[in-house]
Protein backbone atom coordinates (compact mmCIF):
# COMPACT_ATOMS: atom_id res chain seq x y z
CA UNK A 1 0.00 0.00 0.00
CA UNK A 2 1.33 3.41 -0.86
CA UNK A 3 1.77 5.74 2.08
CA UNK A 4 2.32 8.88 0.05
CA UNK A 5 -0.03 10.93 -2.10
CA UNK A 6 0.90 12.73 -5.24
CA UNK A 7 2.40 15.62 -3.27
CA UNK A 8 4.91 13.22 -1.71
CA UNK A 9 3.33 13.60 1.74
CA UNK A 10 2.04 10.74 3.83
CA UNK A 11 -1.74 11.35 4.00
CA UNK A 12 -2.16 9.71 7.39
CA UNK A 13 -0.14 12.54 8.89
CA UNK A 14 -3.09 14.88 8.37
CA UNK A 15 -5.59 12.87 10.32
CA UNK A 16 -3.22 12.06 13.16
CA UNK A 17 -2.42 15.71 13.53
CA UNK A 18 -6.13 16.39 13.57
CA UNK A 19 -6.65 13.79 16.31
CA UNK A 20 -3.60 14.71 18.34
CA UNK A 21 -1.93 12.58 20.95
CA UNK A 22 -4.10 10.25 22.98
CA UNK A 23 -4.99 11.77 26.31
CA UNK A 24 -2.20 11.05 28.79
CA UNK A 25 -2.90 9.69 32.26
CA UNK A 26 -2.09 11.67 35.40
CA UNK A 27 0.93 9.77 36.79
CA UNK A 28 0.00 10.34 40.44
CA UNK A 29 -3.50 8.97 39.99
CA UNK A 30 -2.22 6.13 37.82
CA UNK A 31 0.20 5.20 40.60
CA UNK A 32 -2.59 4.96 43.16
CA UNK A 33 -4.64 2.76 40.85
CA UNK A 34 -1.60 0.67 39.95
CA UNK A 35 -1.02 0.03 43.65
CA UNK A 36 -4.59 -1.13 44.18
CA UNK A 37 -4.52 -3.30 41.06
CA UNK A 38 -1.19 -4.74 42.21
CA UNK A 39 -2.80 -5.69 45.54
CA UNK A 40 -5.65 -7.46 43.76
CA UNK A 41 -3.13 -9.26 41.57
CA UNK A 42 -1.18 -10.36 44.64
CA UNK A 43 -4.37 -11.52 46.34
CA UNK A 44 -5.31 -13.56 43.29
CA UNK A 45 -1.83 -15.13 43.22
CA UNK A 46 -2.06 -15.93 46.94
CA UNK A 47 -5.45 -17.57 46.44
CA UNK A 48 -4.03 -19.66 43.61
CA UNK A 49 -1.12 -20.79 45.74
CA UNK A 50 -3.44 -21.62 48.62
CA UNK A 51 -5.70 -23.59 46.30
CA UNK A 52 -2.73 -25.53 44.95
CA UNK A 53 -1.63 -26.28 48.49
CA UNK A 54 -5.12 -27.40 49.49
CA UNK A 55 -5.22 -29.80 46.57
CA UNK A 56 -2.30 -31.68 48.09
CA UNK A 57 -4.55 -32.63 50.95
CA UNK A 58 -7.23 -34.34 48.95
CA UNK A 59 -10.18 -35.82 50.74
CA UNK A 60 -9.96 -39.56 50.64
CA UNK A 61 -13.47 -40.44 49.73
CA UNK A 62 -15.10 -37.75 47.57
CA UNK A 63 -18.18 -35.70 48.35
CA UNK A 64 -20.51 -38.43 49.52
CA UNK A 65 -17.98 -40.05 51.82
CA UNK A 66 -17.08 -36.64 53.21
CA UNK A 67 -20.72 -35.83 53.96
CA UNK A 68 -21.17 -39.23 55.58
CA UNK A 69 -18.10 -38.75 57.74
CA UNK A 70 -19.45 -35.44 59.05
CA UNK A 71 -22.66 -37.18 60.00
CA UNK A 72 -20.72 -39.92 61.77
CA UNK A 73 -18.63 -37.35 63.62
CA UNK A 74 -21.74 -35.52 64.79
CA UNK A 75 -23.30 -38.78 66.02
CA UNK A 76 -20.06 -39.69 67.75
CA UNK A 77 -19.96 -36.36 69.54
CA UNK A 78 -23.55 -36.45 70.71
CA UNK A 79 -23.23 -39.98 72.09
CA UNK A 80 -20.20 -39.29 74.23
CA UNK A 81 -21.33 -35.85 75.38
CA UNK A 82 -23.40 -37.20 78.21
CA UNK A 83 -20.64 -39.48 79.49
CA UNK A 84 -17.42 -37.42 79.81
CA UNK A 85 -16.41 -33.74 80.00
CA UNK A 86 -15.60 -31.85 76.83
CA UNK A 87 -11.84 -31.33 76.63
CA UNK A 88 -11.18 -29.85 73.18
CA UNK A 89 -12.62 -28.38 70.00
CA UNK A 90 -11.26 -29.13 66.53
CA UNK A 91 -10.23 -25.82 64.94
CA UNK A 92 -8.38 -26.90 61.81
CA UNK A 93 -7.82 -30.08 59.83
CA UNK A 94 -5.58 -31.09 56.96
CA UNK A 95 -6.46 -34.27 55.10
CA UNK A 96 -8.63 -36.79 56.95
CA UNK A 97 -7.61 -37.04 60.58
CA UNK A 98 -9.89 -39.33 62.59
CA UNK A 99 -11.16 -39.34 66.11
CA UNK A 100 -13.23 -41.60 68.32
CA UNK A 101 -14.37 -41.82 71.91
CA UNK A 102 -13.14 -44.69 74.03
CA UNK A 103 -14.90 -47.83 72.86
CA UNK A 104 -16.42 -46.18 69.76
CA UNK A 105 -15.54 -46.37 66.09
CA UNK A 106 -13.21 -43.76 64.61
CA UNK A 107 -14.72 -41.11 62.32
CA UNK A 108 -13.34 -38.25 60.25
CA UNK A 109 -12.79 -35.08 62.25
CA UNK A 110 -14.14 -31.77 61.04
CA UNK A 111 -13.54 -28.22 62.24
CA UNK A 112 -15.97 -27.36 65.01
CA UNK A 113 -16.27 -30.90 66.39
CA UNK A 114 -16.14 -31.14 70.17
CA UNK A 115 -14.03 -33.86 71.76
CA UNK A 116 -14.57 -35.40 75.15
CA UNK A 117 -12.15 -36.86 77.68
CA UNK A 118 -10.74 -40.15 76.50
CA UNK A 119 -11.04 -39.28 72.80
CA UNK A 120 -8.41 -40.83 70.58
CA UNK A 121 -7.09 -38.93 67.54
CA UNK A 122 -5.13 -40.38 64.64
CA UNK A 123 -3.47 -38.81 61.63
CA UNK A 124 -2.14 -40.48 58.48
CA UNK A 125 0.91 -39.47 56.44
CA UNK A 126 -0.62 -36.28 54.92
CA UNK A 127 -2.93 -35.36 57.79
CA UNK A 128 -2.83 -32.90 60.64
CA UNK A 129 -5.29 -31.52 63.15
CA UNK A 130 -5.34 -28.48 65.41
CA UNK A 131 -7.37 -28.41 68.64
CA UNK A 132 -8.24 -25.73 71.13
CA UNK A 133 -8.08 -27.42 74.52
CA UNK A 134 -10.62 -26.46 77.16
CA UNK A 135 -7.75 -25.44 79.48
CA UNK A 136 -6.56 -22.83 76.97
CA UNK A 137 -3.76 -24.59 75.09
CA UNK A 138 -3.49 -24.83 71.35
CA UNK A 139 -2.63 -28.46 70.55
CA UNK A 140 -1.58 -29.61 67.08
CA UNK A 141 -1.11 -33.18 66.05
CA UNK A 142 1.47 -33.88 63.34
CA UNK A 143 1.11 -36.36 60.48
CA UNK A 144 1.38 -40.07 61.34
CA UNK A 145 0.54 -39.52 65.00
CA UNK A 146 -1.84 -40.86 67.62
CA UNK A 147 -2.91 -39.32 70.93
CA UNK A 148 -5.55 -39.70 73.59
CA UNK A 149 -6.86 -36.53 75.19
CA UNK A 150 -7.69 -36.51 78.88
CA UNK A 151 -8.71 -33.58 81.06
CA UNK A 152 -5.20 -32.92 82.40
CA UNK A 153 -2.95 -34.79 79.98
CA UNK A 154 -2.26 -35.73 76.40
CA UNK A 155 -1.24 -39.36 76.01
CA UNK A 156 1.17 -39.53 73.06
CA UNK A 157 1.21 -43.01 71.56
CA UNK A 158 3.03 -42.19 68.32
CA UNK A 159 4.26 -39.23 66.27
CA UNK A 160 4.40 -35.68 67.54
CA UNK A 161 2.32 -33.00 69.20
CA UNK A 162 2.85 -29.27 69.55
CA UNK A 163 1.52 -27.33 72.51
CA UNK A 164 1.23 -23.59 72.90
CA UNK A 165 -0.06 -22.14 76.15
CA UNK A 166 -0.37 -18.66 74.63
CA UNK A 167 2.12 -17.32 77.19
CA UNK A 168 2.95 -17.82 80.82
CA UNK A 169 -0.03 -18.40 83.10
CA UNK A 170 -2.58 -18.20 80.32
CA UNK A 171 -3.53 -21.88 80.19
CA UNK A 172 -4.19 -24.60 82.74
CA UNK A 173 -0.99 -26.70 82.94
CA UNK A 174 -1.16 -29.90 80.97
CA UNK A 175 1.21 -32.84 80.74
CA UNK A 176 2.25 -34.87 77.72
CA UNK A 177 2.75 -38.50 78.70
CA UNK A 178 4.36 -41.25 76.66
CA UNK A 179 5.93 -44.66 77.17
CA UNK A 180 9.35 -42.97 77.27
CA UNK A 181 8.56 -40.24 79.75
CA UNK A 182 6.42 -37.22 80.44
CA UNK A 183 6.73 -33.52 79.69
CA UNK A 184 5.31 -30.78 81.86
CA UNK A 185 5.41 -27.07 81.12
CA UNK A 186 4.25 -23.65 82.11
CA UNK A 187 3.86 -20.85 79.60
CA UNK A 188 5.60 -22.23 76.58
CA UNK A 189 5.56 -23.52 73.01
CA UNK A 190 7.09 -26.89 72.32
CA UNK A 191 6.97 -30.08 70.27
CA UNK A 192 7.10 -33.54 71.79
CA UNK A 193 8.03 -36.25 69.35
CA UNK A 194 7.90 -39.89 70.33
CA UNK A 195 10.39 -41.88 68.30
CA UNK A 196 11.22 -45.57 68.47
CA UNK A 197 14.04 -45.11 70.96
CA UNK A 198 13.75 -41.58 72.29
CA UNK A 199 11.44 -38.83 73.37
CA UNK A 200 12.48 -35.60 71.62
CA UNK A 201 11.36 -32.28 73.08
CA UNK A 202 11.96 -29.12 71.02
CA UNK A 203 11.32 -25.90 72.94
CA UNK A 204 10.51 -22.67 71.16
CA UNK A 205 9.58 -20.52 74.15
CA UNK A 206 9.82 -20.88 77.94
CA UNK A 207 10.92 -24.16 79.49
CA UNK A 208 9.65 -27.71 80.02
CA UNK A 209 10.38 -30.37 82.60
CA UNK A 210 10.98 -33.84 81.23
CA UNK A 211 10.74 -36.89 83.46
CA UNK A 212 11.37 -40.62 83.08
CA UNK A 213 11.06 -42.47 86.38
CA UNK A 214 13.50 -40.73 88.75
CA UNK A 215 15.32 -38.96 85.95
CA UNK A 216 14.30 -35.33 85.36
CA UNK A 217 15.69 -32.62 83.13
CA UNK A 218 14.75 -29.15 81.98
CA UNK A 219 14.78 -28.05 78.36
CA UNK A 220 14.76 -24.35 77.56
CA UNK A 221 13.88 -22.22 74.56
CA UNK A 222 16.11 -22.90 71.57
CA UNK A 223 16.98 -26.38 72.79
CA UNK A 224 16.24 -29.93 71.68
CA UNK A 225 16.35 -32.46 74.50
CA UNK A 226 16.47 -36.16 73.61
CA UNK A 227 15.69 -38.67 76.32
CA UNK A 228 16.33 -42.25 75.29
CA UNK A 229 14.83 -45.36 76.80
CA UNK A 230 17.88 -45.95 79.02
CA UNK A 231 17.45 -42.52 80.59
CA UNK A 232 20.37 -40.94 78.74
CA UNK A 233 19.89 -37.29 77.85
CA UNK A 234 21.28 -35.45 74.82
CA UNK A 235 20.88 -31.72 74.20
CA UNK A 236 21.46 -29.60 71.15
CA UNK A 237 20.64 -26.04 70.18
CA UNK A 238 17.86 -25.53 67.62
CA UNK A 239 16.30 -22.58 65.83
CA UNK A 240 12.91 -21.46 67.12
CA UNK A 241 11.72 -21.07 63.53
CA UNK A 242 12.11 -22.83 60.19
CA UNK A 243 11.62 -26.35 58.88
CA UNK A 244 11.28 -28.10 62.24
CA UNK A 245 8.23 -25.96 63.01
CA UNK A 246 6.73 -25.83 59.50
CA UNK A 247 3.97 -28.38 60.14
CA UNK A 248 2.95 -26.46 63.25
CA UNK A 249 2.50 -23.25 61.28
CA UNK A 250 0.60 -25.06 58.55
CA UNK A 251 -1.97 -26.22 61.09
CA UNK A 252 -2.33 -22.83 62.78
CA UNK A 253 -5.91 -21.58 62.95
CA UNK A 254 -6.04 -18.40 60.88
CA UNK A 255 -7.65 -15.33 62.46
CA UNK A 256 -9.97 -13.06 60.52
CA UNK A 257 -8.26 -9.81 59.66
CA UNK A 258 -11.47 -7.87 60.23
CA UNK A 259 -11.13 -6.07 63.54
CA UNK A 260 -7.39 -6.80 63.86
CA UNK A 261 -4.80 -4.05 63.92
CA UNK A 262 -1.50 -4.43 62.13
CA UNK A 263 0.25 -4.78 65.51
CA UNK A 264 -2.10 -7.59 66.58
CA UNK A 265 -1.63 -9.40 63.28
CA UNK A 266 2.14 -9.14 63.55
CA UNK A 267 2.14 -10.43 67.14
CA UNK A 268 0.02 -13.41 66.10
CA UNK A 269 2.22 -14.11 63.10
CA UNK A 270 5.57 -13.99 64.88
CA UNK A 271 4.25 -16.24 67.66
CA UNK A 272 3.05 -18.80 65.13
CA UNK A 273 6.27 -18.66 63.12
CA UNK A 274 8.70 -18.46 66.04
CA UNK A 275 10.06 -15.13 64.77
CA UNK A 276 11.08 -12.09 66.76
CA UNK A 277 9.35 -8.80 65.99
CA UNK A 278 11.18 -5.51 65.88
CA UNK A 279 10.10 -2.04 64.87
CA UNK A 280 12.74 0.33 63.55
CA UNK A 281 11.38 3.08 65.82
CA UNK A 282 8.97 3.22 68.77
CA UNK A 283 6.80 5.54 66.68
CA UNK A 284 6.31 2.79 64.08
CA UNK A 285 5.17 0.41 66.82
CA UNK A 286 2.64 2.99 67.99
CA UNK A 287 1.41 3.53 64.43
CA UNK A 288 1.04 -0.22 63.87
CA UNK A 289 -1.44 -0.36 66.74
CA UNK A 290 -3.63 2.14 64.89
CA UNK A 291 -3.69 0.47 61.46
CA UNK A 292 -6.91 -1.51 60.97
CA UNK A 293 -6.79 -4.52 58.68
CA UNK A 294 -9.46 -5.93 56.40
CA UNK A 295 -9.84 -9.00 54.21
CA UNK A 296 -8.76 -12.58 54.61
CA UNK A 297 -5.53 -14.55 54.79
CA UNK A 298 -7.32 -17.90 54.75
CA UNK A 299 -5.19 -20.63 53.20
CA UNK A 300 -2.01 -18.56 53.04
CA UNK A 301 1.35 -19.50 54.49
CA UNK A 302 2.82 -17.17 57.10
CA UNK A 303 5.14 -15.48 54.63
CA UNK A 304 2.38 -15.11 52.06
CA UNK A 305 0.08 -13.58 54.66
CA UNK A 306 2.84 -11.22 55.71
CA UNK A 307 3.53 -10.17 52.12
CA UNK A 308 -0.14 -9.57 51.42
CA UNK A 309 -0.86 -7.61 54.58
CA UNK A 310 2.26 -5.47 54.33
CA UNK A 311 1.54 -4.72 50.66
CA UNK A 312 -1.92 -3.52 51.59
CA UNK A 313 -0.60 -1.27 54.35
CA UNK A 314 2.31 0.16 52.36
CA UNK A 315 4.81 -0.64 55.12
CA UNK A 316 8.26 -2.06 54.44
CA UNK A 317 9.65 -5.05 56.24
CA UNK A 318 12.51 -7.50 56.16
CA UNK A 319 12.81 -10.99 57.51
CA UNK A 320 16.30 -12.14 58.39
CA UNK A 321 17.41 -14.98 60.64
CA UNK A 322 14.02 -15.29 62.28
CA UNK A 323 13.67 -11.59 63.01
CA UNK A 324 10.90 -9.63 61.34
CA UNK A 325 11.81 -5.96 61.22
CA UNK A 326 9.24 -3.33 60.35
CA UNK A 327 11.14 -0.52 58.74
CA UNK A 328 9.00 2.35 57.59
CA UNK A 329 6.31 3.29 55.22
CA UNK A 330 7.05 2.29 51.65
CA UNK A 331 8.62 5.00 49.54
CA UNK A 332 6.71 6.05 46.45
CA UNK A 333 8.16 4.82 43.22
CA UNK A 334 9.61 7.55 40.99
Amino acid sequence: MSTENTNGKDPLEKIFQLAGRREPVDPARAEAIEKKTHERWQQMLARRRAEQRRRRFAWAGGGLAFAASIAVAVIFMSRVAIETPMVATVVNVLGTPEGGARGHAMAALVAGAELHAGSVLETAADDGVALQLAGGHSLRLAAASRVRIETDAVMLDAGAVYLDSGGEGRATPIEVRSRLGSVRELGTQYIVHLGGNSLDVSVREGAVHVAQGNITATARAGELLQLDKTGQILRQPIAEYGERWAWVAELAPVPSLEGLTLAEFLRWLVREQGWQLEFATPELARQAAKVDLHGSIEGLSGEEALELVMASTGWRYRLEDGTLTIDSREERRP
Binding site: K14, I15, A19, G20, E23, A30, I33, E34, H38, R48
Partner: protein, 202 residues
Protein backbone atom coordinates in the same frame (compact mmCIF):
# COMPACT_ATOMS: atom_id res chain seq x y z
CA UNK B 1 -8.30 -18.37 16.51
CA UNK B 2 -5.04 -17.47 18.13
CA UNK B 3 -3.23 -14.57 16.49
CA UNK B 4 0.21 -13.14 17.12
CA UNK B 5 -1.38 -10.53 19.37
CA UNK B 6 -3.45 -12.96 21.42
CA UNK B 7 -0.42 -15.24 21.66
CA UNK B 8 1.67 -12.45 23.17
CA UNK B 9 -1.28 -11.42 25.38
CA UNK B 10 -1.56 -14.99 26.59
CA UNK B 11 2.15 -15.10 27.28
CA UNK B 12 1.88 -11.85 29.26
CA UNK B 13 -0.96 -13.29 31.35
CA UNK B 14 0.98 -16.51 31.91
CA UNK B 15 3.90 -14.48 33.22
CA UNK B 16 1.56 -12.57 35.52
CA UNK B 17 0.06 -15.81 36.80
CA UNK B 18 3.59 -16.97 37.56
CA UNK B 19 4.03 -13.85 39.72
CA UNK B 20 6.31 -11.91 37.34
CA UNK B 21 6.30 -8.32 38.58
CA UNK B 22 7.78 -6.94 35.36
CA UNK B 23 4.87 -8.50 33.48
CA UNK B 24 2.42 -6.81 35.83
CA UNK B 25 4.05 -3.44 35.26
CA UNK B 26 4.01 -3.91 31.53
CA UNK B 27 0.36 -4.95 31.70
CA UNK B 28 -0.63 -1.92 33.74
CA UNK B 29 1.37 0.56 31.68
CA UNK B 30 -0.16 -0.80 28.48
CA UNK B 31 -3.76 -1.30 29.42
CA UNK B 32 -4.64 1.16 32.16
CA UNK B 33 -4.47 4.28 29.96
CA UNK B 34 -6.47 2.53 27.24
CA UNK B 35 -9.14 1.32 29.64
CA UNK B 36 -9.33 4.74 31.25
CA UNK B 37 -9.96 6.38 27.87
CA UNK B 38 -12.42 3.61 26.99
CA UNK B 39 -14.37 4.45 30.16
CA UNK B 40 -13.98 8.19 29.78
CA UNK B 41 -15.59 8.24 26.33
CA UNK B 42 -18.55 6.29 27.68
CA UNK B 43 -18.99 8.25 30.89
CA UNK B 44 -19.59 11.68 29.41
CA UNK B 45 -15.97 12.69 30.07
CA UNK B 46 -16.31 12.33 33.86
CA UNK B 47 -12.69 11.57 34.65
CA UNK B 48 -13.20 10.76 38.34
CA UNK B 49 -15.91 8.25 37.54
CA UNK B 50 -13.81 6.86 34.68
CA UNK B 51 -10.89 6.27 37.05
CA UNK B 52 -13.17 4.47 39.52
CA UNK B 53 -14.55 2.33 36.73
CA UNK B 54 -11.13 1.52 35.28
CA UNK B 55 -9.79 0.62 38.71
CA UNK B 56 -12.78 -1.55 39.47
CA UNK B 57 -12.57 -3.26 36.07
CA UNK B 58 -8.87 -3.96 36.51
CA UNK B 59 -9.48 -5.33 40.02
CA UNK B 60 -12.10 -7.73 38.72
CA UNK B 61 -9.88 -8.70 35.83
CA UNK B 62 -7.12 -9.50 38.30
CA UNK B 63 -9.52 -11.73 40.27
CA UNK B 64 -10.37 -13.63 37.08
CA UNK B 65 -7.00 -13.49 35.39
CA UNK B 66 -6.61 -17.25 35.37
CA UNK B 67 -9.76 -17.55 33.26
CA UNK B 68 -8.20 -15.63 30.34
CA UNK B 69 -7.66 -18.21 27.61
CA UNK B 70 -6.17 -16.00 24.91
CA UNK B 71 -9.14 -16.51 22.60
CA UNK B 72 -9.68 -12.75 22.35
CA UNK B 73 -7.20 -9.90 22.56
CA UNK B 74 -6.45 -9.01 26.15
CA UNK B 75 -7.73 -5.47 25.60
CA UNK B 76 -11.09 -6.79 24.35
CA UNK B 77 -11.26 -9.13 27.34
CA UNK B 78 -10.56 -6.24 29.71
CA UNK B 79 -13.17 -4.12 27.97
CA UNK B 80 -15.86 -6.65 28.89
CA UNK B 81 -15.14 -5.95 32.57
CA UNK B 82 -15.00 -2.25 31.85
CA UNK B 83 -18.35 -2.29 30.02
CA UNK B 84 -19.95 -4.01 32.97
CA UNK B 85 -18.54 -1.43 35.38
CA UNK B 86 -19.57 1.42 33.08
CA UNK B 87 -23.14 0.09 32.99
CA UNK B 88 -23.22 -0.06 36.78
CA UNK B 89 -21.73 3.43 37.09
CA UNK B 90 -24.24 4.93 34.66
CA UNK B 91 -27.09 3.30 36.54
CA UNK B 92 -25.72 4.51 39.85
CA UNK B 93 -25.37 8.07 38.62
CA UNK B 94 -28.67 8.03 36.67
CA UNK B 95 -27.00 8.86 33.37
CA UNK B 96 -27.84 7.77 29.88
CA UNK B 97 -25.44 5.44 28.08
CA UNK B 98 -23.26 6.93 25.36
CA UNK B 99 -23.74 5.09 22.08
CA UNK B 100 -20.47 5.42 20.22
CA UNK B 101 -20.93 3.10 17.31
CA UNK B 102 -24.20 4.51 16.03
CA UNK B 103 -22.57 7.80 15.18
CA UNK B 104 -22.20 6.99 11.55
CA UNK B 105 -24.34 9.89 10.25
CA UNK B 106 -22.20 12.30 12.24
CA UNK B 107 -19.05 10.72 10.92
CA UNK B 108 -20.32 11.08 7.41
CA UNK B 109 -21.15 14.71 8.04
CA UNK B 110 -17.71 15.20 9.50
CA UNK B 111 -16.06 13.63 6.55
CA UNK B 112 -18.08 15.83 4.25
CA UNK B 113 -17.12 18.88 6.23
CA UNK B 114 -13.49 17.97 5.87
CA UNK B 115 -13.91 17.57 2.13
CA UNK B 116 -15.29 21.08 1.91
CA UNK B 117 -13.87 22.96 4.92
CA UNK B 118 -16.01 26.03 4.43
CA UNK B 119 -19.32 24.22 3.91
CA UNK B 120 -20.28 22.75 7.28
CA UNK B 121 -21.37 24.88 10.26
CA UNK B 122 -20.65 22.02 12.72
CA UNK B 123 -17.15 21.55 11.40
CA UNK B 124 -15.33 21.99 14.73
CA UNK B 125 -17.68 19.64 16.59
CA UNK B 126 -17.34 17.15 13.80
CA UNK B 127 -13.58 17.33 13.87
CA UNK B 128 -13.59 16.77 17.60
CA UNK B 129 -15.73 13.65 17.23
CA UNK B 130 -13.54 12.42 14.42
CA UNK B 131 -10.45 12.99 16.58
CA UNK B 132 -12.05 10.94 19.34
CA UNK B 133 -12.82 8.09 16.96
CA UNK B 134 -9.27 8.13 15.65
CA UNK B 135 -8.04 7.84 19.22
CA UNK B 136 -10.51 5.06 19.96
CA UNK B 137 -9.20 3.23 16.90
CA UNK B 138 -5.64 3.75 18.14
CA UNK B 139 -6.54 2.24 21.50
CA UNK B 140 -7.98 -0.78 19.74
CA UNK B 141 -4.71 -1.49 17.94
CA UNK B 142 -1.93 -3.63 19.37
CA UNK B 143 -0.04 -1.21 21.65
CA UNK B 144 3.14 -1.34 19.60
CA UNK B 145 1.25 -0.29 16.46
CA UNK B 146 -0.43 2.64 18.19
CA UNK B 147 2.88 3.79 19.67
CA UNK B 148 4.64 3.53 16.33
CA UNK B 149 1.91 5.58 14.61
CA UNK B 150 2.06 8.30 17.28
CA UNK B 151 5.83 8.44 17.08
CA UNK B 152 5.68 8.69 13.33
CA UNK B 153 2.82 11.13 12.79
CA UNK B 154 2.69 13.19 15.96
CA UNK B 155 6.27 13.19 17.22
CA UNK B 156 7.68 13.19 13.70
CA UNK B 157 10.21 10.44 14.32
CA UNK B 158 11.96 8.85 11.36
CA UNK B 159 11.63 5.15 10.62
CA UNK B 160 15.19 4.67 11.89
CA UNK B 161 14.37 6.41 15.17
CA UNK B 162 11.24 4.31 15.60
CA UNK B 163 13.35 1.22 14.94
CA UNK B 164 15.75 2.33 17.67
CA UNK B 165 12.93 2.76 20.16
CA UNK B 166 11.59 -0.68 19.32
CA UNK B 167 14.99 -2.31 19.20
CA UNK B 168 14.46 -3.32 15.56
CA UNK B 169 16.26 -2.66 12.32
CA UNK B 170 15.13 -0.15 9.69
CA UNK B 171 13.42 -2.73 7.51
CA UNK B 172 11.59 -4.35 10.41
CA UNK B 173 10.43 -0.96 11.68
CA UNK B 174 9.17 -0.01 8.23
CA UNK B 175 7.32 -3.28 7.94
CA UNK B 176 5.79 -2.77 11.37
CA UNK B 177 4.67 0.74 10.40
CA UNK B 178 3.00 -0.61 7.28
CA UNK B 179 1.14 -3.19 9.32
CA UNK B 180 0.19 -0.49 11.82
CA UNK B 181 -1.23 1.71 9.05
CA UNK B 182 -3.27 -1.15 7.63
CA UNK B 183 -4.56 -2.13 11.02
CA UNK B 184 -5.51 1.46 11.68
CA UNK B 185 -7.45 1.71 8.42
CA UNK B 186 -9.23 -1.58 9.10
CA UNK B 187 -9.94 -0.63 12.68
CA UNK B 188 -11.33 2.75 11.75
CA UNK B 189 -13.56 1.28 9.05
CA UNK B 190 -14.83 -1.38 11.46
CA UNK B 191 -15.52 1.16 14.15
CA UNK B 192 -17.28 3.75 12.04
CA UNK B 193 -18.59 1.81 9.10
CA UNK B 194 -16.83 4.37 6.90
CA UNK B 195 -13.43 4.41 5.28
CA UNK B 196 -10.71 7.02 5.52
CA UNK B 197 -10.60 7.52 1.79
CA UNK B 198 -12.44 10.81 1.86
CA UNK B 199 -9.86 12.28 4.18
CA UNK B 200 -6.89 10.59 2.60
CA UNK B 201 -7.83 11.89 -0.79
CA UNK B 202 -7.57 15.48 0.43
Amino acid sequence: METFETHSDKRLVERMLAGDNAAFRSFFATYFPRLLRFALYRLHGDDTLAEDVAQSALGKAMDKLDTYRGEAALYSWLCTFCRHEIGAALKRTHREPVDLIDDLPMIRATLESLVDPGAAPDRDAGRSELARLIQVTMDSLPPVYADALEWKYIDGLSVAEIGNRLGRGHKAAESLLNRARESFRDGFSTLTGAGLDLILDQ
